[in-house]
Amino acid sequence: EPEVTQTPSHQVTQMGQEVILRCVPISNHLYFYWYRQILGQKVEFLVSFYNNEISEKSEIFDDQFSVERPDGSNFTLKIRSTKLEDSAMYFCATRTGGISGANVLTFGAGSRLTVL
């Protein structure tokens, strides 16, 4: 079964450092998302990306965050200057698009970010 692949699985960084989380979407998927889950809390939407641009972002997704798809394959989330409160599990999710019943969001296994 096709998978969404995320790397790294776990990253520990110092406050103020830049972090890049990577996602390899399922090959025929067109819509890409990043979600965040702080420990013990629910999963929150960060940003959606389609046709090489952001289609929507949440209040959480401030100027410290950016996304891009540099090579048509990887989909990355960059945090420029990490803060303690950025510690969370970050999930990449993708879907094919369209209005069919197969329009299901598939999640990667997550990247756990710990900011010290």
């Binding site: 959606s48 999640f107 997550g110």
Partner: protein, 112 residues
């Protein structure tokens, strides 16, 4: 925006017991998914069920779109069923994103 509420917030079962988890929505159901988050944090998609009933082994789900709720049934529970169960509803089709809004989850612990 869409509000998604889940109940109960936590549940302890003995192995072999059955359970029902509930998900209520503030808006019309457009795209509903149930997920299981295992102890390693992975989100496993269980069902895509905007309406009707589906079954997959010991799990089944029913969504009553007109009444804005969905139920997840777990029968003959096993310790490997432990974890957090999330339902998530998509913003109505035609919006800019069709993003999923997650509920607060039900923490299930199945004891041997």
């Amino acid at each position: 925006g869409i509000q998604v509420e889940q109940s109960p917030p936590d549940l302890i079962l003995q192995e072999g017991a059955n359970s029902t988890l509930r998900c209520n929505f503030s808006d019309s159901v457009n795209n509903l998914q149930w997920f299981h988050q295992n102890p390693w944090g992975q989100l496993i998609n269980l069902f895509y069920i905007p309406s009707g009933t589906k079954q997959n082994g010991r799990l089944s789900a029913t969504t009553v779109a007109t009444e804005r709720y969905s139920l997840l049934y777990i029968s003959s529970s096993q310790t490997t069923d432990s974890g957090v169960y999330f339902c998530a509803e998509r913003t109505p089709y035609g919006g800019a994103t069709n993003k999923l809004i997650f509920g607060t989850g039900t923490l299930l612990a199945v004891q041997p």
